[in-house]
């Protein structure tokens, strides 16, 4: 899909429809919750259908909440009913975990199988547009990566990591769906790791340590996306119909050591050969933010090229990587002083 849909990206014009209905999964997650807040204020959106296991706190006048658990086997029929009843025009699939979890079996049901359920519902009751939230870490960090990965690059994330594999599988089924349903506009947004003052994920916890473990002798270039830009990209994709896969990234790169210094932390170099076994042990002991496969990202480069999003989606990040780190660091200092809830 990468190339074929990318090519027809321009063909579909922006059609401002009056008062459209948007449905989204993962409504209580960081992205879902805040996107609801954004869409509530937009006049072009008539109704927001929030699908999740809990009511999002940002739900307002326009939001209608349905309790939907993607891990239930019959959820696709229920979702199709909801889509038909509400007349959903645009479907945002955001129900992915932002941080690795120990409940990997449940995560598999939610992300991989859950995406299948979502797509089955969209096959049964077609929507006009389908937007998938994905991440650039799925490309995988490896020494053979070019400095800027384009969308045509294969998703080669570490196969040992369920966290990555489930998402890669989810993206694969979405791409198959895009080929089967040419009348649906399918937009995949692969976002760089999100950092910002309020978002909490494994990365913000990793950089929130007093001593941040790094690999001795390795200092990969890192790239981040500010949380506001992440939401802006999702809204932009909701409002304009541009099919295809897009890397959504902040401008510029920073070496990991510099990121740690900007965050006001100290790095703790660990010899590379012992890093993975140590990370496995620490993860098993619940002392680490991510499993050992994540060590790759501290060693090799995984930076994506946002050129296509700039040209076709006309997405301009408001924050650079550096500004995202600084913004995060400012809020993190407040958290350190317990002026902000962790």
């Amino acid at each position: 899909m990468t190339d074929s849909t990318g090519a027809r990206g321009r063909a579909v014009a922006r059609t401002p429809r009056a008062r459209r209905t948007v449905a989204l999964t993962g409504a209580v997650g960081f992205l879902g919750r805040n996107l609801i807040g954004l869409l509530e204020d937009d006049d072009r959106i008539g109704r927001i259908v929030a699908l999740d296991v809990e009511q999002p706190t940002t739900a307002g006048r326009k939001t209608r909440f349905y309790k939907v658990d993607l891990t239930q086997p019959t959820v696709d029929a229920r979702m199709a009913e909801i889509l038909a009843a509400e007349g959903v025009d645009t479907f945002l699939h955001l129900a992915f975990l932002a941080s690795p979890t120990y409940a990997s079996a449940w995560a598999h049901e939610l992300e991989s199988v859950g995406t299948m359920h979502v797509l089955n519902a969209c096959r049964e009751r077609p929507v006009r547009k389908f937007i998938l939230w994905s991440q650039t870490i799925l490309y995988g960090a490896r020494p053979s990566n070019p400095n800027f990965l384009t969308e045509s690059h294969k998703l080669e994330g570490n196969r040992e990591s369920r966290f990555l594999v489930d998402k890669i599988e989810a993206e694969a089924v979405v791409q198959r769906f895009a080929r089967q349903m040419p009348q649906t506009v399918v937009t995949v947004l692969r976002m760089a790791p999100i950092l910002g003052p309020t978002v909490r994920n494994y990365l913000s916890r990793y950089l929130g340590r007093r001593l941040v473990p790094t690999l001795m002798g390795y200092d990969p270039l890192m790239q981040f996306l500010h949380e506001v830009d992440a939401l802006a990209a999702l809204k932009l994709a909701t409002m304009s119909d541009v099919p295809g896969v897009f890397n959504i990234v902040g401008d510029g790169v920073l070496p990991l050591h510099k990121v740690i210094e900007l965050a006001g932390r100290s790095n703790w170099p660990v010899p590379a050969p012992v890093a993975k076994p140590a990370a496995s042990l620490l993860w098993a002991a619940q002392l680490l933010e991510a499993p050992s496969s994540w060590v790759d990202y501290l060693r090799w480069i995984c930076v994506a090229d946002g050129e296509r999003a700039r040209k076709q989606l006309e997405f301009r990040p408001a924050f650079t990587t550096r500004e995202a780190v600084l913004d995060y660091a400012g809020a993190q200092r407040l958290r350190d002083a317990r002026l902000l809830r962790a």
Binding site: G37, D41, P143, F148, L231, L254, H257, S266, A329, L339
Partner: protein, 505 residues
């Protein structure tokens, strides 16, 4: 200490006096208050050198922290239309008990000290009252400040009033002034700031004469704090982090070049260039002064110095001082330290995407088409060019319409002669194992390269103007051009090697 004040600026923790903070609700006024108060307060309150160092650190940090998200955070959560993600912040703002507690806890020793003098200065207040009553706040405050200095100096000329007392008198005067100014401009009934002055007398009454003791306790505490600071590992970790990053720039370019690190390494590289290898260059005028160009050179040595020397040659000898970005094979980036160091000095991983992106900005790109085969060739095979890849660099030149300058580097192939370690490399799953006659046998000393005499010859450019972009797919043409470049380099290598009298001259 009001809810409003806290909500409007969570950074008030950096301030040193809570009563002052609450009297100065407007951010526009506070900088003035701070700057005037801080320097005067420091000598009296913090006699210990360590404590004042700690204080200085805090001051330097404060503007940095305040700069970053304060406005963004608050603005955004106030206006719901901007972005709603900041509900955490709004929680903190709207939840006074949660936010109040740590502030109150962190400030107690300094709180009572400003209060008592305030009551004694009541007459001075009234004297400058008319000044503070001016309409606009910030100019009025500054003006009042200027006026306030005079009576304070005049009122305490007697010698027994120490400098400390004078300073404290000034401080309290300033506090009252600020409070007054705040009261003048707050017709808003919700603003609780106006209540603050009424609280002052009560506080001064209970403060009594214990100011000095409280102060001493505070300084003792701080001295203790700073000593225990030095006792923690975190202190040393921070210092270590600072030292380790001392030579790093704030930012790197998109491929990881660090200008500051390069500048630091430059003397060493120049020493290698002029003293150790005594590099001489020929035909550097063949590299154009502007526009993109591909330099295509032979490659050898367990440690890829040739890219560094080529870059140094262009930087030192070329009239346009052209910067070089060279493409290094993947295996360089497998090794710790070396990969990062070369990357910060200008090496980029060799692949088509990177090369095209580099050439788009009309740079000089160095390629070593022999790749790992060149690095791993044995001493007996020196100056015999290996296969030139699959002609990726030729395709690159054709696609981007870039001329190729063949470069012959003599000397590099003797600096780190490799011993044949093919089977071992296979066993270790590495492209090469850097085993030379000296490394690792002599440890780090074995890494010292042989001081062979180097020469770098730039040959006339091979133009690709005659071909269009589609010819990049023409394998025969690519092969022919590849051979042409290879032959040019090989001929020059043979000639130079024959010319030189020995390895070292």
């Amino acid at each position: 200490m009001t809810k409003k004040v806290l909500g409007s600026d969570p950074f008030t923790r950096e301030g040193d006096d809570e009563s002052k903070e609450s009297e100065a609700p407007r951010p526009s006024k506070r900088p003035g208050a701070k700057s005037s108060k801080r320097p005067s307060a420091r000598p009296s309150k913090r006699p210990s050198a360590k404590a004042s160092a700690g204080e200085k650190q805090e001051i330097t940090r404060a503007p940095k922290a305040a700069k970053v998200p304060a406005e963004a955070l608050i603005d955004m959560d106030a206006s719901s239309d901007a972005v709603a993600p900041l509900e955490l912040t709004s929680d903190a703002a709207s939840d006074p008990t949660a936010a109040n507690a740590p502030i109150a806890a962190s400030e107690p020793p300094e709180a009572p000290q400003a209060a008592p003098i305030k009551s004694s200065n009541a007459d001075e207040d009234s004297a400058i009252d008319d000044v503070g009553a001016e309409a606009s706040v910030s100019p009025a405050t500054s003006e009042a400040l200027a006026n306030a200095d005079a009576p304070a100096e005049a009122s305490a000329p007697e010698p027994e009033g120490s400098i400390e007392d004078k300073i404290r008198a000034l401080e309290s005067q300033l506090d009252v002034l600020l409070a007054r100014a705040g009261r003048e401009r707050t017709p808003d009934p919700h603003d609780e700031v106006a209540l603050v002055p009424d609280e002052l007398p009560a506080r001064s009454a209970q403060g009594g004469g214990t100011v000095r003791e409280a102060q001493r306790a505070a300084t003792d505490e701080e001295t203790q704090d700073s000593t225990s600071d030095i006792a923690t590992g975190e202190f040393y970790a921070k210092q270590w982090g600072r030292v380790a990053l001392r030579d790093r720039a704030e930012d790197v370019d998109e491929f990881g070049l660090d200008e500051q690190f390069s500048a630091t390494a430059r003397p060493l590289i120049d020493a290698l260039y002029t003293k150790w290898w005594r590099v001489e260059t020929h035909g550097i005028e063949n590299v154009p002064d502007a526009g993109r160009v591909i330099l295509c050179a032979n490659h050898a040595g367990a440690v890829p110095y040739d890219g560094l020397m080529l870059a140094a040659a262009l930087r030192r000898e070329h009239p346009a001082r052209r910067p070089l970005r060279w493409l290094a094979d993947d295996f360089v980036f497998h090794f710790p330290f070396m990969g990062v160091a070369l990357n910060r000095l200008g090496a980029v991983r060799a692949c088509q995407e990177n090369a095209e992106r580099l050439l788009r900005t009309s740079t000089v790109v160095g390629v070593f088409p022999e790749g790992v085969k060149g690095v791993s060739k044995s001493y007996r095979e020196r100056y015999q060019l290996q296969r030139f890849g699959r002609g990726g660099h030729i395709k690159l030149a054709l696609r981007t319409r870039t001329p190729i300058v063949p470069v012959a580097i003599v000397g590099s192939e003797e600096t780190h002669p490799m011993l044949p370690t093919g089977p071992l490399a296979k066993l270790l799953n590495l492209p090469i194992v850097p085993v030379t006659p000296t490394f690792p046998w002599f440890g780090a000393l074995g890494l010292v390269p042989l001081p062979a005499k180097w020469s770098i010859s730039f040959l006339p450019p091979i133009s690709v103007d005659g071909y269009d972009e589609k010819s990049a797919d023409d394998e025969l043409l690519v092969g022919r051009l590849n051979e042409k470049v290879r032959a040019a380099i090989q001929d020059e290598l043979d000639a130079r090697v024959r010319q030189r009298r020995s390895l070292f001259r």
